[in-house]
């Protein structure tokens, strides 16, 4: 079964802070060269992390649900710079 997480995210309400991603990959080459189990690419419930053909990991925080999973996953390389979005930005749950 292929699941379109974008379909799910489309139902959500977001206020995107243009040009200010609240999560960043510290050193892209670590993802590409040193990480053998990029669990962020399957564990992130919003599929913010995707693996590119060259093995690097691309992060797009637009659909981020701010759960914090990726921050905890990346314990070995500690390569995720994680903070909450600025006040009022990010996902805005209607029901929660």
């Amino acid at each position: 079964m292929t699941v379109k997480v974008e379909e799910k995210l489309f139902e959500n309400r977001y206020r995107v802070d243009e040009g200010r991603a609240h999560i960043a990959i510290r050193a892209p080459e670590i993802c590409r060269d040193r990480c053998e189990t990029p669990s962020c690419t399957w564990c992130c419930p919003a599929a913010c992390y995707t693996k590119a053909e060259d093995g690097s990991v691309i992060l797009s925080t637009d659909g981020c649900l701010e759960c914090g999973t990726c921050r905890l996953l990346c314990s070995e390389h500690d390569n995720v710079e994680w903070s909450y979005p600025r006040g009022g930005y990010g996902v805005l749950y209607k029901f929660g």
């Binding site: 379109k4 977001y14 206020r15 797009s60 659909g63």
Partner: protein, 363 residues
């Protein structure tokens, strides 16, 4: 604050509550012919086409209104209005009307309406049309339905049923002005069909006099900057938008997107990732929060269609997605999903359309 409600709306009493027998005193369909900088906006011809149908249905004449300086362009606009279906044209020729400014245009149009009492007044939903219609309707104290996409006559009430999108296009609503005249509406460009131009058609050109003096007009035009000089993307208003994403591989390949956009007379743009990578300027980013595009045709090449992108382009009438991944999210909300390499498909599409347009020109 110098304004006074009564002074600013001297004619309100005349139009308001034109109830009962008075309703009949308002007769005819009027189309405002938007003449700016010597050119008539095509929406005016579209409205004459639509106005013709309404007038015929009601059994009343259709008139155009032309306002401008006393020059050849104004004269030609009058003739063209007749050729596009008007029975008569009311024209105001005055140097004060050389460029659009709210005050003198509002004064002139308001006076003409009061003098001639049309039951319906249609304007294009352009920046000019919406600026002018809002001012005129307030001055007349009558109802105005903005940005309509469909017009009809309700036979029961003999009133104009104007349908328009609301809530950002999520819904449609139909609005009537029952007890006030004229019934005003602005209509979105390129919604109504362009009528057939009849070069033989003639009609009455009625010269109207309105006392205007440049000294009374506070607002002055300093200059006009045409868009071609400004090189700023007008994505929000474009009827055709072609956009590219990361699937194009490298910035050089963006040429393919620009070429197709140019051929179609549309605008080009890029997805958020390529805008961030600097392949296109930030003003051409599609899928930015709060910036939605609403073209008739949207072509997305090599764009996966993540959440923000979808929100940004969903208002497009037709979406053609070109992507090598049949499972890309955009393939779900597109109207047509072409599975294939954008670098092959884009030039083929440009070529096919160029041939087609070439044939038309030749014919």
């Amino acid at each position: 604050m110098s304004g006074d409600d009564q002074a600013a709306a001297p004619s309100a009493a005349a139009a308001r509550r034109a109830g009962g027998a008075d309703l009949g005193a308002w007769r005819g369909v009027w189309v405002y012919v938007e003449l700016e900088r010597g050119r008539v906006h095509p929406v005016s011809w579209e409205l004459l086409g639509e106005g013709r149908k309404l007038a015929d249905h009601l059994g009343v004449p259709l008139s155009g209104v032309v306002m401008g300086p006393d020059d050849a362009a104004t004269a030609q606009a009058c003739d063209e209005a007749l050729r596009h279906g008007a029975d008569a044209v009311h024209v105001v020729r005055d140097p004060v009307l050389a460029h659009y400014r709210t005050d003198p245009y509002t004064r002139a149009l308001t006076e003409l309406v009061e003098r001639n009492r049309p039951e319906i007044l249609l304007l294009g939903a352009t920046t000019l049309g919406r600026d002018l219609a809002g001012a005129v309707a307030t001055t007349l104290g009558t109802g105005l339905t903005a940005d309509c996409t469909e017009l009809r006559i309700d036979d029961e009430t003999r009133s104009l049923a104007a349908t328009r999108p609301t809530f950002g296009g999520t819904l449609l609503c139909t609005i009537h002005t029952l007890e006030y005249r004229p019934q005003m509406a602005t209509i979105r460009p390129r919604v109504m069909a362009m009528p057939k131009r009849d070069p033989q058609r003639t009609g009455r050109v009625i010269e109207e006099q309105v006392a205007l003096a440049e000294d009374d007009v506070v607002t002055k035009i300093l200059s006009y900057i045409p868009d071609a000089d400004a090189d700023k993307a007008q994505l929000a208003y474009a009827d055709v938008v072609v956009a590219g994403g990361r699937g194009l591989g490298k910035p050089e390949n963006f040429r393919l997107v620009r070429e197709l956009a140019e051929l179609l007379g549309g605008e080009y743009g890029g997805s958020r990732p390529v805008a961030q990578a600097g392949w296109v300027g930030a003003d051409r980013q599609i899928g930015q929060t709060g910036k939605t595009i609403r073209p008739k045709l949207y072509i997305a090449a090599g764009i996966s269609g993540a959440i923000q992108h979808r929100v940004g382009v969903e208002g497009a009438d037709v979406i053609i997605a070109i992507n090598s991944d049949p499972n890309a999210p955009i393939m779900d909300f597109a109207t047509y999903a072409v599975v294939g390499d954008a670098l092959q498909i884009l030039p083929a599409l440009t070529e096919a359309l160029r041939e087609r347009l070439g044939r038309r020109v030749a014919a």
